[in-house]
Each structure stands twice: as structure tokens, then as C-alpha cells.
Symmetry: C2
Subunit: 417 residues, 2 copies
């Protein structure tokens, strides 16, 4: 367990930039401290079209259901006179989400569904709901950067627990923290398709985690955006299936239909919906109302099962192809997870390799990008330092082997330097 300061780990390895000119606007304190790092700039370079990118968790563009969605949105615009009007959160979509949640083993009611502008907004709204300025949160040492971002304005005390590559979060460490007096606003967890570790939380750990939340009266924020992207037949149920009171579930259509829709949902205790509605109102009033209606039409037409099947089958192929290429091209002693779900491989290189240095060479000389482990973790963590996160869903099969070859060349170049 480590207690780290408010600054997310991804921003901790470079000193704050000196303002290039007289800073004439008086900005909020935390904003003044928030700067894009050299890593951030590297990732900007990595987003250039000529770069072969394993960096972001993007869906395969070839699998977008553009035709079906065009049909759905056109139908809504033609039939529904209020398609362009503001309105209350769209109840038919909530009902369809209740149905969809069954696939995650979750029983819930329409009155527990809260629509969001994507999962990131879900995290951001929950942070505002639960966190006071300089409050406390518990996350894993290696955790999704978007959670770091969502809590940043609150300058929180971040308490961390470690994770095992095979079984996920160390719940005994969590128990020691809580029993030792930690009183976090929430515990952040990803039980399936973990970002960035790719791990699924072991069943016994799921049960213990939820018990701890219940007995210490600390809500769990369960980020389950990859929960429906599974590569095995009997995917475990989400944490929310174990407790409807202390697990706040965050889901999204981004990975299963398209991130451009910016539409997601939360499942929370019904009594919290009015409070969340106040926070949502002040943030952006409503989630793209047309997206809400068009997604409901798309789901109503029954397109999702085939879409999910296509995604799962293709992504599994790409995962295995990437693992095959790693076996072939990466050095002895390299370790990786074989994720049962989600879109990421977590690869740990032999000790001594700094993946931030590797990224520089990979982008500049080999035109291939990934995210170094340090971006997700506590600064100075030596395992994270020699690890990298690879996305296996965005690039086509052809480009996956090519990209891994380029990365292995970059590794060799790094050794020579």
C-alpha cells in the first residue's frame, strides 16, 4: 500500500512546466498545476495518421454498424417530432439497458438507470457526487487514467492497493487499509477486461471485495465498459450482481456500438438519482437526446446480438494474433496476460527496460505507438516502468504482426543506445 499525492502518476515524472509568458489569467488552483506532460505530447504524436497505434482502447472501425445506425437515426428523425427537442432521459432506452444488463448477470430496475454522456462522464459525475475537496479514494496501483483524470479537480488523497496479474486486486491489502482507518469516498474497480491489466477478478475476490464495501459502508465504482466484450463462454457476472446498494455500475455503448455516440449509463441506488440529476443538469443538462433515441431504435431492431458476436469473434482473433507475434518477436523473459475480455494486453518486459524510453524510439523511428505502464501507475513502480499496454482491437490483423515487429525492432534499438 502506498499513499500518493494528488497529482496522477502519469503526470508525476516531469517537473511542472514553467509558464512561457506572464500568466495573466487567474485560474483555479488545480488547473494551474495540471499540465500536459512530455508523455502526453508523445501520445499526441502517436495519434498522427502515419503512426500504427496500439495506444488507445478504440474499436475496430471496420466493425462499426454504420448502415444500421443510419437507418435507426433516420427512422427517429422522420417518425419522432421531438427527436431534436430537449426532453427527460429517454425511458425506452433505460428499459433496454435493464434488459442488456441481464447479460452481465445484473438484475436492476428502470429507476436505477442513469444515462450519461459516456462512461467517463459517469466517473466524473460520481466523483462530484461522492468526493469532497482533498477527500480520500482507493484505487489499484495500476489503474485507468480516466479515473485519475476524473478525481484530479478534487486534489484527493489517493490510497492504492496492488494487483495480481492472474487474479486482480489484492483484497487483503484493501481490508488492511479499511480496517486501519481509511475512509475513502469510494473504491474504484474493474472486474472484467481490466484497463490496463486485462485481468478478470477472481470469483472469491469479487465476493470479498463486495463484503468489504458493505461492511465498511464504502461504495465501489465498478467501471464495466469492457464487460460485454468477452472471449469465454461463461463470463463471470459483474460486481453489481453481488450487491445493489454498494456497487455503482458504469457502462457504455462506446465499445459495443461506437464511441462517437458518447452515450453510457450507470446503475445506482434509486435514491441517488435525484442528486445525480442535479449534477448532470449543471454539467451539460442532457446526454445527446438524439443519440438516446437512435440507440434505442438500433437496439429495438435487434441488431446488438449479431454486432456483439462479430466483435467478440474478430477481437479474439486479433488478441491471439498479437500474442502469437509477441511470442515470435519479443525477447525471452517477456510476460503477458491472456485477457478473457476487454481490449488490452499488459506486457512486462525483462527488468531494466524503461518503456517511456521505448515509446520515444518506437514513435520516432518505427512509427508505432503504445502506452507505457508508468502512465497508469504510481511513479517509481518498477514493474509498471518496464510494462506497456497494447490494444489489440483497433488495428487490422495485417497491421498487428507488422506493429509487433516494429516494436521488437525499437526494443533492439533501445538496447543498442
Amino acid at each position: 500500500m502506498k499513499i500518493i499525492a494528488a497529482t496522477p502518476a502519469s503526470q508525476a515524472h516531469t517537473p511542472p512546466t514553467v509558464p512561457p509568458r506572464e500568466e495573466i489569467f487567474a485560474l483555479a488552483d488545480w488547473v494551474r498545476l495540471a499540465e500536459r506532460t512530455s508523455l502526453g505530447k508523445m501520445l499526441d504524436i502517436g495519434a498522427r495518421p502515419e503512426i500504427l497505434s496500439f495506444a488507445l482502447g478504440l474499436p475496430a472501425p471496420e466493425l462499426f454498424p454504420a448502415q444500421d445506425y443510419a437507418t435507426a437515426v433516420t427512422q427517429v428523425l422522420h417518425r419522432d417530432a421531438l427527436a431534436l427537442q430537449l426532453g427527460p432521459p429517454y425511458r425506452p432506452l433505460k428499459q433496454l439497458i435493464v434488459k442488456l444488463m441481464e447479460q452481465r448477470g445484473v438484475e436492476c430496475r428502470e429507476g436505477q438507470v442513469f444515462l450519461t454522456s459516456g462512461a467517463q462522464q459517469g466517473l466524473s459525475l460520481l466523483a462530484r457526487l461522492l468526493l469532497n475537496q482533498r477527500g480520500q479514494v482507493i484505487i489499484e496501483e495500476t489503474a485507468y487514467t480516466g479515473l485519475h483524470m476524473a478525481i484530479q479537480p478534487f486534489q484527493p488523497k489517493v490510497l492504492t492497493v496492488s494487483s495480481d496479474a492472474e487474479t486482480g486486486m489484492d483484497v487483503e491489502e484493501l481490508e488492511r487499509l479499511l480496517a486501519g482507518g481509511a475512509r475513502p469516498a469510494f473504491i474504484f474497480a474493474m472486474s472484467d477486461g481490466h484497463n490496463p491489466l486485462g485481468v478478470s477478478l477472481a470469483q472469491a475476490k469479487r465476493e470479498r471485495l463486495v463484503e468489504l464495501a458493505r461492511s465498511f459502508r464504502v461504495p465501489i465504482i465498478e467501471d464495466d465498459v469492457y464487460g460485454l466484450i468477452s472471449y469465454q463462454d461463461n463470463m463471470p457476472a459483474a460486481l453489481r450482481a453481488l450487491d445493489e446498494r454498494w456497487v455503482f455500475y458504469v457502462g457504455s455503448f462506446s465499445k459495443i456500438i461506437g464511441p462517437a455516440l458518447r452515450t453510457g449509463w450507470m446503475i445506482v441506488p434509486a435514491e441517488l438519482i435525484p442528486k445525480l440529476a442535479i449534477i448532470k443538469d449543471l454539467s451539460d443538462i442532457d446526454t445527446c437526446t438524439l443519440s438516446q433515441r437512435a440507440i434505442a431504435a438500433y437496439l429495438d431492431m435487434g441488431h446488438l446480438p449479431a454486432q456483439l458476436a462479430a466483435i467478440r469473434s474478430e477481437y479474439k482473433e486479433r488478441r491471439d494474433l498479437m500474442i502469437g507475434a509477441l511470442k515470435k518477436h519479443f525477447p525471452e523473459g517477456t510476460k503477458w496476460s491472456v485477457p478473457a475480455g476487454g481490449v488490452f494486453l499488459w506486457v512486462t518486459l525483462p527488468a531494466g527496460v524503461d518503456t517511456i524510453d521505448l515509446l520515444k524510439i518506437a514513435v520516432e523511428r518505427e512509427q508505432v505507438a503504445f502506452i507505457p505502464g508508468a502512465a497508469f501507475g504510481v511513479a517509481g513502480d518498477s514493474v509498471a516502468k518496464s510494462s506497456l499496454r497494447l490494444n489489440f482491437t483497433y488495428c487490422s490483423r495485417e497491421l498487428i504482426e507488422e506493429g509487433i515487429m516494429r516494436l521488437s525492432r525499437a526494443l533492439k534499438e533501445l538496447e543498442v543506445n
Copy 2:
């Protein structure tokens, strides 16, 4: 000038509700205090379909360009392989906004445009950019409720200046505040189509306001969502036309295309864009990417000029029809503005009428809704107490006269009670 506490005026007239059950979730402090008021509940009732509503600032649904927008979105989904993918803010849309801003007398560059999920998100992002916890802001005594909402999480000190029904914000009072040592994070202003007063800020006051911002180094947040909805030929330029450094402009497609798209923009100094990008990232990553592309396609097809002309012409008719009905049916001594732009009439009844009491009778017995003046202002302001805001754009011409007749009956019933 008054200095009021953090709670928005709209929530100040009822004591905090006693929690109906043991409050078991530990929520952030400001959230615990934030409650829907009895007025809020009344407005929920007012949103029922059987109620004839002058309450919200909604567009006329008959004027939505549903067909043209369907063409635009279908074209985007068919032609653009990345239509459902996440991407950087869409540059062609920014370029079209630069062009659109010319109609508000504003010269700007693509590098100063920041896309938002509607104007409310613009206000919310700017509040996070500029406000510290318990910081200071200056607004008018009677101001848009969405601004009250956006600042609520910061529990700010709200300093207010009064407004004149013919010429807008009292800039001399503002100067006294600033010269007296006030150092707000920002000044909030609506120069055209003021919500709720309907007033346009006098030209001399515009110049003075911007001079004050410049010399005291306090940014103005200019909410201009109604700026393009004008009923006179030579609409004055936005405040942003007078200063590109100290005026942060907030605009939206909600009132001119449709609020369901949740797409708006800001024009800010280019050096602030990276900071805003950090805040936007943590809030919701991106504005509905498909909306960005589809709006750009819609604008590119050249539909907007005809759409704006149709809106202006129809809304002007409705405005005049409502004023005619007020003359005919409302009691002697009632006063109202004749707005040169925007979508609201601000009506002040003879002293002694409490428009919160009126709303109760109007909704329950006459099935007609509006927003009482007290919702926008400082609690106890006697002018606001006897005023009401009427929207004249949402209801059809037929319903406008009918609604005003119902309201006049409710007024008579209130007198009898």
C-alpha cells in the same frame, strides 16, 4: 449591490428538506445541501404533456430541420468511415463556427474555438477553469439559473449587480464593486436576448463593461445562446467583438438547429485551450462526435440562413401575439419588455402579487406554466417576486392567446383567495 450566500436564490425560499430516511451514503458536502425545491417540483408538474407551458426556453418543434438534418447525418454515416469513432474536435466544424461568428460581429480564429456539449457545459467548464472552492463571482441580481447551477459545486460567494429593464446591467454598480476590492473569478453577462429579462445591453454599457474587465483583469463569461435570434435588422455585436482577451464567449446550436444535439462552442484565448481540453477530457472526453460531423455537414449544405430566417420571422410573430394578448387580458399596471432578441418576455405584475403563489394556481387549476421571477434572482427581491418569465417560442400561435387567457384567469383566482 448585495452579497449573498452560496445557495442559489431559486433554492433559498424553502428550508432544506429533512432526509426521509437514514442517510447512509456519505455524499460530497455541497451535494448533501442541494435539493430540489417545491418550486422545482412545481416545474416538474408543469412539464406534464397536458400543461400548456411558457416555462422553458425551448424552440418551436414545428421548425426543427429534421429532414435536412437526417440527410446530413446519413451522408456522414455513409461517407465517413470514422463517423462512429472517437476523434479530436472536428476542425471543419470549428472553421464553420468562425464563419458563423461573423454574424455576431466577432472576428476569431479556429485556434480560439472550443467545442462543447452545449452551452451549459461551456459554463460548467469555465466555472471549473476559473473558480476555486468558495471563490467569488459577479452576476446580475436576476440571472440565468443555469449559471447558478454551474457554480453551485464551488459554494462561491456571489456578488450581484442590478439591471435596468431598458438598458441592462448596471455597470456603474459593477465598477463600484470592482473598485471597492471585489476580485471575482469572472463576471457573467448576456448582452442580447437576456435570460430572463429579454433586454439588450445598451451600447455605451457594453463598452464600459469590457473596459472594466480589461482594467481589473477579470474575464467576462458572455452567454450568447440567443444572440443569433434577433428581431431587428442591425443587431448589436456581441461583447466578444470588443475584446478577444477578456471576453470568453459561449454559443450553442441548441436554439438554432436543435437542443437534442447537445453541441455548442466557446471562443476563448488560444492559450487557454489546452487547459480547457484537460477539463473536457475528464468530464466526458468528447462532444458527441457524430453530432459534430453531422452539424458540419448541415451547415456545409447551406441550410442555416433559411432556418434562421424562418425562426426569426415566426418567433417575432409569436412575441407580438403574446404581447397583444397580455395587453388584452392582463390587469392595469402590468409591465413587460419588448425583447429585440431571444425567446423570453419578462412581465412584472402590480406590486403585491406573488408569482410563486400564482404558479401554483396556474398549474393546478388552469394547466398553464411559467417560471416565477424569484427563480432567477436574489431571495426577497420584491420586483422579482411579482415578476414572471414567459417563453413565446415553444407554443404555437393558437396556444399563446389561450395560455395568456388562462394565466389571466389564474390571476383573478389568486386575488379572490
